[in-house]
Assembly symmetry: C2
């Protein structure tokens, strides 16, 4: 089983400090919601965010969305060998049921995330597809209890995937932020660099997912033609 | 060199038949544009599209967007070994300069595509990053003149990627539509199925890109640890 953890991602509700900023008020009026019920989105709230601490990296639900589309629609997930967890600012931890089909439209995806922040689970009746709780990265890892933990970072080493993907339970930690470094303290068995420059979260995810499919002979046995 | 062609994708301007529909008029008013200058988007124009021929598969700029984010940000593209071409309804053919950074925000991406449909090139001054011309899939393939052409389809065969990715110039054709079959007539050397059920375009793209990286030893030599 491969556990993909998007760590320190920038998915959060609009913080109180900027509720009264005009760019926030404008989007709240358009969506007929209170700012406290809306996701922070740097493409909409850029001006307001200049006053926020670490404002240059926050408000990126788009990164979470593309990461989820890539991971969730993969062959590995369809074969039920992938578990996806999104860890976000303020230690919001979202667990995705492998049966979930991620909404492809970005605005609707944001609406669903806002609902998840409000209720803690979506849908609110029937089998949960996404659940939200508070958990640090360390707590998430202790709960998974993996055989190997791999952290992806440009500061890591170039290692052949067969070295770290061969275990029964592998947890891979991918940064969900647009720039800078991990904010969480992380202990890992391997720190791996896939490429000298920073790749977006979904590019790391696709490399790991396909490498795992190959290691496990899920798509093609190397001997098969 | 790997050529990825997104074929029969559903990127087009709003067709004249539905310019006067109320859902189209509403989005035109909000964006202060004429319907003829706006992309058809099934998430916004769903009701109007029920009257369109093949309306159940049209208006999917979101598929093109995620496909481009996956392909363009890949290691293969950063290493300048990938060429990306989007073929769309009405034989609109978009060529992407490998240096392009695809806009991550969906609304802004749509705005850029609308500009591309209006002017044929973006940006309008300096080095072109995206160009639009009319070309059938057949014309696109003749221009590339690949050593091997591979078509991905659930009706194809399970073939080890090393069989079809080993050539100097490989053209891979991936369907850019949400359901149904290719509309273009296509001749290919290999028809390949990666999985029994239909995968979204970006999932096929990531499988092919990473397989090509492995075949070419771009990321990891199989002997390397």
């Amino acid at each position: 089983m491969l556990y993909l953890i998007l760590a320190d991602s920038e998915l959060e509700l609009i913080p109180k400090e900027i509720w009264n900023h005009k760019s926030v008020q404008k989007t709240a009026r358009m969506q007929q919601k209170h700012p406290s019920e809306m996701l922070l989105d740097s493409s909409l709230h850029y001006q307001a965010m200049t006053t926020l601490s670490q404002g240059d990296r926050r408000g990126r639900p788009d990164i979470v969305h593309v990461f989820l589309l890539v991971a969730n629609e993969s062959i590995l997930n369809r074969e039920n060998i992938l578990r996806i967890i999104v860890h976000s600012r303020h230690n919001a931890c979202i667990t995705i049921n492998p049966k979930t089909r991620i909404i492809k439209n970005y605005s609707r995806f944001k609406g669903l995330m806002e609902q998840l922040f409000a209720t803690g689970v979506v849908p609110t009746t029937g089998e949960p597809l996404m659940t939200l709780k508070k958990a640090t990265l360390d707590q998430i890892l202790r709960e998974i209890d993996p055989d190997t933990t791999v952290l992806f970072s440009t500061e890591g080493q170039r290692i052949n995937p067969s070295v770290y993907l061969g275990k029964e339970k592998t947890a891979c930690i991918i940064g969900g932020f647009p720039r800078g470094s991990f904010l969480s303290a992380i202990t890992a068995d391997h720190i791996v660099s896939l490429y000298p420059s920073m790749l977006p979260a979904w590019s790391v995810a696709m490399e790991v997912i396909v490498a795992y499919e190959y290691t496990m002979n899920i798509t093609y046995d190397s001997k098969e033609t």
